[in-house]
């Protein structure tokens, strides 16, 4: 029986694969079916996953097994339940309390982390001496990094009309951005093709057994 179920599983997989691919042609009943099944399954997956992997180990198990050590966890538990009172519209506003805790935490953490990692560390990483090495490409590269970063940051300067002389660094900044976007695009082509390779591999290997 197990082998049959495995084979059935592969055929279901193939059917769903082609159903999704059919969207490339146009919207059609197969895609609609696959789409709704996908939404349903993934919502269920997330739900079950959170229960088994977040709520049980992080809340229920510690509180039930050792209450004295973990009684503080009652607070987020209560806040979590308060989140659910939204189901009853007149009490909707109560959910703002847990929301406030969540957003306050996020804001504090984000402020510090972005300040450290994306602001200070990136500035420090740009404080370089391009002439450290005799290598021409490294020197030109180092200069490009400094010029590109400065002009790029200047492009995002909002409170000044970027005209005349002030438009020049902004313009150079755009050039750098465009080169970077082109680079990301070109680079991404690779990744996207590999995804397709993965799908075709499934069809050729598991379904048709053409390749090993």
């Amino acid at each position: 029986m197990a082998e049959i179920m495995t084979i059935i599983g592969i055929w279901i997989g193939v059917f769903l694969t082609f159903s999704i691919f059919s969207f490339l042609y146009r919207d059609n009943p197969f895609y609609r079916f696959a789409e709704q099944v996908f939404v349903g399954l993934s919502a269920a997956y997330g739900f079950i996953y959170i229960i088994y992997n977040v709520l049980v180990p992080n809340l229920f198990t510690p509180v039930l097994s050792d209450f004295n050590q973990n009684w503080l966890l009652i607070i987020p538990g209560v806040l979590g339940v308060l989140m659910l009172v939204r189901i009853y519209p007149p009490a909707e506003w109560i959910s703002r309390y847990p929301l406030a805790v969540v957003i306050g935490t996020s804001a504090g953490i984000s402020l510090l982390f972005y300040l450290k990692s994306d602001f200070m560390n990136q500035i420090a990483a740009t404080m370089i001496n391009p002439f450290e090495t005799p290598n021409v490409s490294a020197i030109s590269g180092g200069l490009l990094i400094i010029i590109g970063t400065i002009c790029g940051v200047y492009f995002f300067y909002f409170s000044k009309r970027q005209e005349g002389v002030f438009a020049i660094p902004s313009r150079i900044g755009i050039w750098f951005l465009m080169v970077s976007f082109g680079a990301s695009f070109g680079y991404t082509v690779m990744a996207r093709i590999s995804l397709l390779i993965g799908r075709i591999e499934f069809l050729l290997t598991d379904w048709l057994h053409i390749i090993k």
Binding site: V39, L41, T126, M127, I150, V153, S180, F181
Partner: protein, 368 residues
């Protein structure tokens, strides 16, 4: 045999006494830290040439953490637990004669009220926050700040207008980040503005979300916008709905909405990843006016290629100030601009200092 051992140990003891007079080992608390560091200082006495420092692991076994032949010096052990005693053994010995002195020391690292090492971070934070607050209050007092044109934002109103004319809905996707992502919150702020306009024009706005917490916040935002526009009656909570936590399940669902409901204007604003191009291409094929924006740099090319308008990086955060012309937000934006000038100045000064062989500035900013 026993006699030999006895004599040997007596000799050891004797040499110990001699060397110990000059050999020293001290463990000190690292000042102004979070209790995760201790300073170990040593001095090797005459007749000894090597030193080994051992530290007790949780089971009490001593493990060598440092070996040297320097006669004096100090190291920082940054591998200790706050307020838990750390025990050390210093073994000073002579490589050729095997004479040795063993000193044992213990110390409990103290947790102070201020972490001195984080001072550069604190200064930068206070400076930036201070300037942002200064401009916010200046703006509140009536000082006006200029803000340059952001084309993508000017076109938003037009897009809503078009949707209203055609009698088709507006699709707003607040990204795939949860509420702990500031981009998501920035997106919801823009949603507040768009929903207000949609309510005024009586256009239908659809907001599918990926996370339940975003659902909660998005409903608050849209509802409040409708109330503000005096159209509380027109608010429909089922137009702001949850699809699924799964990235591609969410995308499949939105694709379905785009081809079936045929929204005339699509807004993809927030934190986006691989799905950016799926959304933008599908939206393009339905002929909608598309406005996108994200601070995730590597997704920007796809939005730029496939959408009509794109908010690049910080423009997403500037959007709410730009749209609302709210004095406080404009002030805040001016504060960010101060940060940019600061950044440019620092990079220039830093690069010049590096060129001159002075490294303290870049070291100060290096928190990594």
């Amino acid at each position: 045999m026993r006699h030999i051992l006895l004599i040997a140990s007596l000799m050891c003891l004797l040499t110990d006494v001699i060397h110990a007079q000059t050999t020293s080992f001290e463990v000190k608390d690292y000042p102004w830290d979070d209790g995760k560091k201790l300073i170990l200082e040593w001095k090797i006495g005459a007749g000894l040439d090597s030193l080994r420092i051992q530290k007790a692991d949780p089971e009490g076994n001593f493990i060598t953490i440092y070996d040297t032949t320097e006669s004096f010096g100090s190291i920082v052990d940054d591998d200790v637990q706050p307020e838990q005693e750390a025990e050390y053994l210093m073994i000073a010995y002579n490589q050729s004669t095997s004479d040795s002195v063993v000193v044992s020391r213990g110390m409990t690292p103290l947790v102070q009220w201020y972490n001195l090492q984080k001072t550069p971070l604190l200064i930068t934070m206070l400076l930036l926050s201070g300037m942002i607050l200064y401009y916010i209050f200046a703006s509140k007092r009536g000082k006006e700040f200029f803000i340059r044109r952001i084309n993508a934002l000017d076109s938003m109103e037009e897009a809503i207008g078009r949707a209203t004319e055609k009698g088709k809905p507006i699709l707003f996707v607040p990204g795939i980040g949860d509420l702990d992502e500031i981009q998501t919150i920035a997106s919801l702020t823009i949603l507040s503005h768009l929903a207000y306009r949609a309510a005024q024009y009586d256009a239908d706005i659809i907001v599918p979300v990926r996370f339940s917490m975003v659902l909660t916040a998005a409903r608050e935002v849209v509802k409040e916008a409708y109330i503000r526009a005096g159209r509380a009656d027109a608010y429909r909570s089922d137009r702001v709905f949850y699809l699924t936590d799964d990235q591609f399940g969410y995308v499949a669902g939105i694709d379905g909405i785009m081809v079936r409901e045929q929204p005339a204007a699509n807004f993809f604003l927030g934190s986006f990843y691989a799905e950016s191009l799926i959304l933008a291409e599908t939206g393009f094929s339905t002929g909608a006016i598309q406005t996108s924006g994200t601070a995730n740099a590597h997704q920007l090319p796809f939005f730029i290629v496939a959408c009509d308008w794109t908010l690049i990086g910080e423009e997403l955060f500037a959007a709410s100030a730009y749209l609302s012309r709210d004095a406080q937000q404009l002030g805040s934006l001016k504060g960010h601009d101060f940060g940019k000038i600061l950044c440019i100045a620092l990079i220039l000064v830093g690069a010049v200092l590096e060129y001159s062989g002075i490294h303290w500035l870049s070291n100060m900013f290096n928190l990594g």
